[in-house]
Amino acid sequence: MTAVLERPPQADAAPATLAALQQRAQRIRRLAVRMGEVQGQGYVGQALGIADVLAALYGEFLQYDPAEPKWEGRDRFLLSCGHYAIALYAALIEAGVIPEAELDTYGSDDSRLPMSGMAQYTPGMEISGGSLGQGLTIAVGMALGLKQKASDRWVVNLMGDGELDEGSTWEAAQAAAHHGLSNLLAIVDANNMQADGPCSGVMRYEPLADKWAAFGWIVRRVDGNDLAAVRQALAALRAAPGSAPRILIADTKLGRGVPFLESRDKAHFIRVEAEEWALALAALDTPAQAPVPGAAA
């Protein structure tokens, strides 16, 4: 089985600039907040936190065809943390894969945009994540399959830091290194928050970079809300020689970009009052924030 790999449409576009990626991230945040308002709730805190990483991925790193989400030559993006669907829908709307008009259906009956990502419903959703700790195992098989087909495409698996509790994550980590899956990129959204509270209290995972390195992975850890650092890390991970799988640990801030949500009592599921959605959008109308100096790890 061999794959036909043509140049993806967006490869012809001008290279993304940092400013353009920051604007993309800000639009992703706005789209996510608008979906949150439709439903009256949602994992908006996570969406705001991961928006910069998704902007870097869909604005620069990933190859895809918005008109043909199943194009064989695409890079595969797996949303292991299915509850981040609101963030991915926003990124896919911004990428032109999902029409913006569908945003108003988010989480509603018969919508293609259910609250947890489902592959059978949504263009651009490769797997039905949500049973946490599964995405990386599937990514291992896809990466094996792509190598078997002599394809040079990437498999990118986004997971939350709570998924580090699941033993299957580490089964997959070991298997990816054993099989030399250099076409596999894992991304951990390290926002230190899971259902029962901060990960540091629920189940400590540090020293995280050391763990992945010990498992045989190439590791970069950056401030996941510093877009310049994120794109630099992604470029370095792409270019790194060797057969090891790669991982980006992105330390992010829940609610990033909406100051009153950033400072809210932190919870896995941030509470947003009815009148606050407009305030959140207004906060996101301000120009894209410059990276905070010294925030990068």
Partner: protein, 340 residues
């Protein structure tokens, strides 16, 4: 203890059978067998189908997948003793257009990796073929390795096809058939020296079809898996007692061939026995019961010959098959008891 017997001077010393290896053969003495029918059938199929790949979780040798691995080393993926990534990776390979055969023991495939099969494979309708060795009571090693509830678990999963083949011939025929099936399949696997019996019945496996192997006036055994072999042996044994036993073989538990089963059970005056190498909960027995009730068919007498709802003992396989009523002699005795 029966002291009278123990004190009887003529009593021979009792021979204690040993548990033997975990993978003790189910073949009877002198029975015709075929070595590694699954491994050879898959290797042969892989010659024609480049999309076939094989994965295992540290049990290639013990599921006969090593035959395939030797012939197709580039299409064999060792996932280590990790059943969750075994199933997830099989799903990933299926996403990329391959038809993965994933092997391990039935206990680990079902009890340990259930959610991965449910979410990563079956919910997405992916063509992963899970081939699971040591089904039911085929090891004397104890409950850690005895998959007595695997059929119930897998039947309950939406979209899953569930198969329990009887012998080497059926495994050889089932391999290409399940590969050709578009969705996920759970197939119980007999490995090693596997008995070969169905060729005497001009048998041809068809996915989703039950087949009447022999007709009988007094008893109809509806059976699956290796219990069909036992049922055929029982039919021969009881013929000597002028009891006429029919055998309806049901290799596919889901989707169940209800029409054939109901029709066979409709005939009046027969004892119907459902025989399975599985707990009586949630397997073929309850599936047949349900089908008959919905069809308003009530056999003259209806009994379940499956394993008890219990954690089974460790010990020698023949001893355990006798103890739990699935050896030839034990099944024959149960049936004679029901006929009284």
């Amino acid at each position: 203890m029966n002291t009278a017997v123990a004190n009887a001077p003529a009593a021979a010393p009792k021979v204690r059978l040993k548990t033997s290896a975990m993978i003790a053969s189910i073949a009877g003495e002198g029975q015709r067998t075929t070595p590694a029918p699954f491994g050879h059938a898959l290797a042969a199929l892989a010659e024609q189908r480049p999309d076939i790949v094989g994965l295992t979780a540290d049990l290639a040798k013990y599921t006969d997948l090593h035959i395939f691995a030797q012939q197709q080393p580039q299409r064999f993926f060792q996932m280590g003793m990790a059943e969750q990534v075994l199933m997830g990776a099989a799903a990933g390979l299926a996403h990329e257009g391959f038809v993965p055969f994933a092997t391990t023991y039935a206990v680990f495939a079902t009890r340990r990796a259930y959610d991965f099969i449910h979410q990563a494979i079956s919910e997405e309708g992916l063509p992963v073929k899970i081939c699971a060795a040591l089904p039911g009571l085929t090891t004397g090693y104890g409950p850690s390795h005895q998959a007595c509830e695997d059929l119930a678990l897998m039947r309950a999963m939406p979209g899953m096809t569930v198969i329990d083949p009887c012998d080497a011939l059926e495994i050889e025929q089932a391999v290409p058939a399940i590969a050709a099936h578009a969705g996920p399949v759970y197939m119980r696997l007999l490995r090693g020296q596997v008995p070969r019996v169905l060729d005497e019945y001009n048998y041809q496996f068809e996915l989703g079809r039950a087949k009447l192997l022999r007709d009988g006036r007094d008893v109809l055994i509806v059976s699956t898996g290796l219990m069909t072999m036992r049922a055929l042996e029982v039919a021969t044994a009881l013929a000597a007692d002028a009891v006429d036993v029919g055998v309806l073989h049901v290799p596919t538990l889901k989707p169940l061939d209800e029409a054939t089963i109901v029709e066979a059970c409709r005939r009046e005056g027969r004892l119907v026995v459902v025989a399975e190498n599985h707990t009586v909960i949630g397997g073929l027995g309850e599936a047949v019961s349900s089908a008959l009730m919905r069809a308003r068919v009530m056999p003259t007498r209806f009994e379940l010959a499956g394993l008890p709802d219990a954690y089974l003992k460790a010990g020698a396989l023949p001893t355990l098959h006798d103890l739990y009523g699935i050896s030839r002699d034990a099944l024959a005795a149960r049936i004679k008891g029901w006929l009284v």
